[in-house]
């Protein structure tokens, strides 16, 4: 996110704010603006999907159209559904040139020390194809173990049984308006299947997927971790990610079977023109562990509440969430934990920061269903407000239908203490450096869970945000 040139134009595709030119040379196919059954049909046809998927999309469209907009959360009054291209298939050599990438984004990449190839990928300058060489051998390794790791479109085509068994069972289109939208127009996303007993030590990254579009508007991800298996998936990145698409509505469905362990890490730093509305849910079965690590740094508005449904005894869920809201940003983030079985436990740690008039909210639910006795849940939500213009809200919902449970909720709101600033400054740190250090310390519980490169980038990004912003 660039703080010196916030993009606050109306959401309008085709009106490329930074002077991009949408030449049809770049696209193999582009639907006309707006959304109707014909367009949905076109999408399915372009992808050569089986009939059931086409019907599923059409039914989802009906649901989408029948639902009202939510009357809570962020302000979406600028969002004009008819003014969006819902499907674009990029030509092979998808190319914006490096020169067309906004100046402030290029500068940020330089400051963050991001390698050349990665810079270009983030800016949408180069497609993923180069990674075929780098990550080819990785893919071989995984394949040998029976791991499936591909994009969702390919999975539907190549692994239809397992796909159909789980698809839309965790998040049906009826779930909410934006899940219905995604269900109608989804394209791209990751599909992962980890066979029983297989433990993948290194984090799988969206970056490894060597086919199809990444960073799509309507990604649909489906992950199945079979019994006793474990893996870690990482997506996104801390560097500002420019997207000319202003509506991102993704769906992530995860199943963690008995004894399985899975962690899904996301760091998003979408440019300031993006509405980021995501439905993420995992079902955790007996004695399994599911973890969401969710970092929200960018976008104009993010509404995202990673959920874990603890379906069988012994299941554990943990969500670490951090939201950073700067000028003109609203992060409405949080978590949901639903205890559907006895002897389950959950933990939510939420850290939110707001500065320069940004608004950061925690919205969370802890629900204990009837019959789910002996459950434990612990929620810690801390907010750091860096100046008087900024805001932080907390909307905790706790619904408990059982007597013998232990539910804790702690919340704190703070600003940077003068004494802390003075202490650090008396050791030679400038005021901006001291503030950055305090903010970094504030989010440390989350950052220490990130893979090393992300952690380093995250800290550098915070320093950048804090620099020169004091006074």
């Amino acid at each position: 996110m660039s703080t010196d040139a916030p993009v606050r134009a109306e959401v309008e595709i085709g009106d490329y704010q930074y002077g991009f030119h949408d030449s049809t040379d770049n696209y193999e196919f582009k639907s006309r603006k707006g959304l109707d059954a014909e367009i949905v049909g076109q999408i399915s046809e372009m992808k050569k999907e089986p009939a059931w998927m086409r019907d599923f999309r059409l039914k989802s469209l009906e649901i989408f159209e029948s639902r009202p907009m939510p009357d809570w959360g962020g302000d979406m009054s600028d969002l004009d559904f008819n003014n969006i291209f819902y499907y674009m298939k990029a030509a092979k050599e998808q190319g914006r040139s490096w020169d067309e990438v906004p100046d402030d984004i290029r500068k940020t990449y330089d400051r963050l020390g991001i390698p050349e190839a990665e810079k270009k990928y983030l800016a949408g300058v180069k497609a993923q194809y180069e990674s075929e060489v780098v990550y080819g051998s990785l893919q071989e390794d995984l394949a040998k173990q029976g791991v499936l790791f591909t994009d969702t479109d390919s999975a539907l085509r190549d692994h239809p049984e397992i796909f159909r068994e789980h698809f839309a069972t965790i998040i049906p289109p009826e779930d909410n308006k934006f899940a219905a939208l995604n269900s109608a127009v989804w394209s791209g996303g990751s599909f992962i299947y980890v066979p029983p007993g297989v433990n993948i030590e290194f984090p799988l990254q969206a970056y490894f997927r060597i086919n199809s579009e990444n960073m799509g508007q309507f990604e649909r991800t489906l992950i199945i971790v079979d019994e006793g298996a474990s893996a870690h998936y990482v997506e996104g990145c801390t560097a500002p990610t420019y997207s000319s698409d202003s509506l991102h509505s993704a769906v992530v469905e995860i199943v963690v079977k008995k004894g399985g362990r899975f962690r899904y890490t996301t760091i998003q730093n979408w440019s300031n023109n993006v509405y980021n509305l995501v439905t993420k849910r995992a079902m955790a079965y007996q004695d399994s562990l599911m973890e969401w690590v969710d970092g929200n740094l960018g976008s104009r508005l993010t509404m995202k509440y990673p959920a874990i449904w603890l379906m069988e005894p012994g299941a554990r869920g943990e969500t670490l969430s951090i939201a950073f809201a700067g000028d003109s940003q609203h992060q409405d983030a949080g978590a949901k934990m639903v205890h559907c079985a006895p002897n389950t436990s959950s933990r939510i740690i939420s850290k939110s920061i707001s500065k320069d008039g940004g608004r950061s909210s925690y919205r969370g639910l802890v629900k204990v269903e009837d019959g789910a006795s002996q459950c434990k849940s612990n929620v810690v939500c801390d907010a750091l407000i860096l100046d008087p213009d900024s805001k932080s809200d907390t909307y905790p919902y706790i619904e408990v239908e059982e007597q013998e449970v232990a539910i804790e909720h702690e919340a704190s709101v703070s600003k940077i203490a003068e004494e802390q600033l003075f202490y650090l400054m008396s050791r030679g740190l400038t005021e901006a450096e001291a503030s950055a250090m305090i903010v970094t310390g504030f989010i440390e519980p989350l950052v220490k869970e990130l893979p090393m490169e992300y952690a380093v980038e995250m800290n550098r990004l915070i320093e950048l945000q804090m620099e020169g912003s004091v006074g």
Binding site: E418, S426, R427, T430, A434, E444
Partner: protein
């Protein structure tokens, strides 16, 4: 040529209350000065004013290092000029590792021209250095991985201050040890630590009642503060004398200052 910290006719107020009423003092690198005085005399105020705390307003007078007026400089700029304050109650900074913090601090203090965002001191050399220093100071290396002052005992906090002093190598170190209720472990840590670090490169101002601190680090000069000014200066013997007999004689010899001090003590008690 050793550096000189010169305090001239310093008047300081806090929240519109006059505390310091014309302090004069000169400290050279290599000297140890003790500052004593009863409660309400303004000792801690002097420490914070020297370090540049924003709430302490200098209403007149100057603070100079080698003839350069630092009275208007912010705390970080003073640190870069070689000033250091060891706090009585170091504040907690959650989530910030001791090692990371010190690395950043020395990067600025050793290279006063360093700009925000520029590189820090190289990790390899830094690690070697801090390990060596911690060894000399008898500190468990695990200490460096802990979060700054978070969950530290009194003694550990003092150890942390001493470690910072060892790494930052200030020209002028002010130790605010005015709390006579401090636990003995903490006092011992400071006493022994300071004794290891003090030398010709460091001018030290110890603000304290603790006998042991001054035993380990005998001062060349002892200043007595009363009613916001220094009323007497002597040598180590004066410190011992005050320990033995208290401030009654001082108050008698300086009745105006004593009156101001009594007023200040009353005001402090009323708060």
């Amino acid at each position: 040529m050793s550096s000189l910290l010169k305090i001239t006719d310093l008047h300081v107020s806090v929240a519109n209350t006059q505390i310091l009423r014309g302090v004069n003092m000169e400290i050279r690198q290599g000297e140890i000065h003790a500052l004593m005085g009863p409660n309400g005399s303004g000792k801690s105020t002097l420490a914070y004013a020297l370090a540049g705390h924003p709430n302490y307003s200098v209403t007149s007078g100057t603070i100079e290092i080698d003839g350069v007026n630092i009275t208007e400089l912010a705390a970080d700029e003073r640190a870069r000029k070689g000033m250091f304050l060891a706090f009585q109650y170091p504040v907690v900074i959650p989530g910030v590792k001791v090692a990371d913090f010190i690395r950043h601090a020395i990067s600025n203090v050793r290279n006063p021209d360093r700009k925000e965002g520029e590189g820090l001191v190289p990790m390899r050399e830094y690690r070697k250095e801090i390990r060596a220093k911690m060894g000399e100071l008898d500190m468990d290396p695990e200490f460096a991985r802990r979060y700054l002052n978070d969950g530290f005992s009194g003694g550990e906090k003092k150890r942390m201050e001493i470690l910072q002093m060892a790494m930052l190598q200030p020209k002028f170190a002010i130790l605010d040890e005015t709390d006579s209720g401090l636990d003995s472990d903490a006092v011992r840590v400071v006493s022994e630590g300071l004794a290891k670090l003090a030398g010709p490169e460091m001018g030290v101002l110890i603000i304290t009642h603790h006998e042991r601190l001054l035993e380990f680090n005998p001062p060349q000069y002892t200043h007595v503060m009363l009613g916001g000014r220094i009323v007497e200066t002597g040598d180590a013997a004066l410190a011992q004398d005050l320990h033995a007999k208290g401030y009654a004689a001082i108050r008698e010899r300086h009745p105006d200052a004593a009156a101001d001090n009594a007023k200040a003590e009353k005001e402090a008690a009323a708060v």
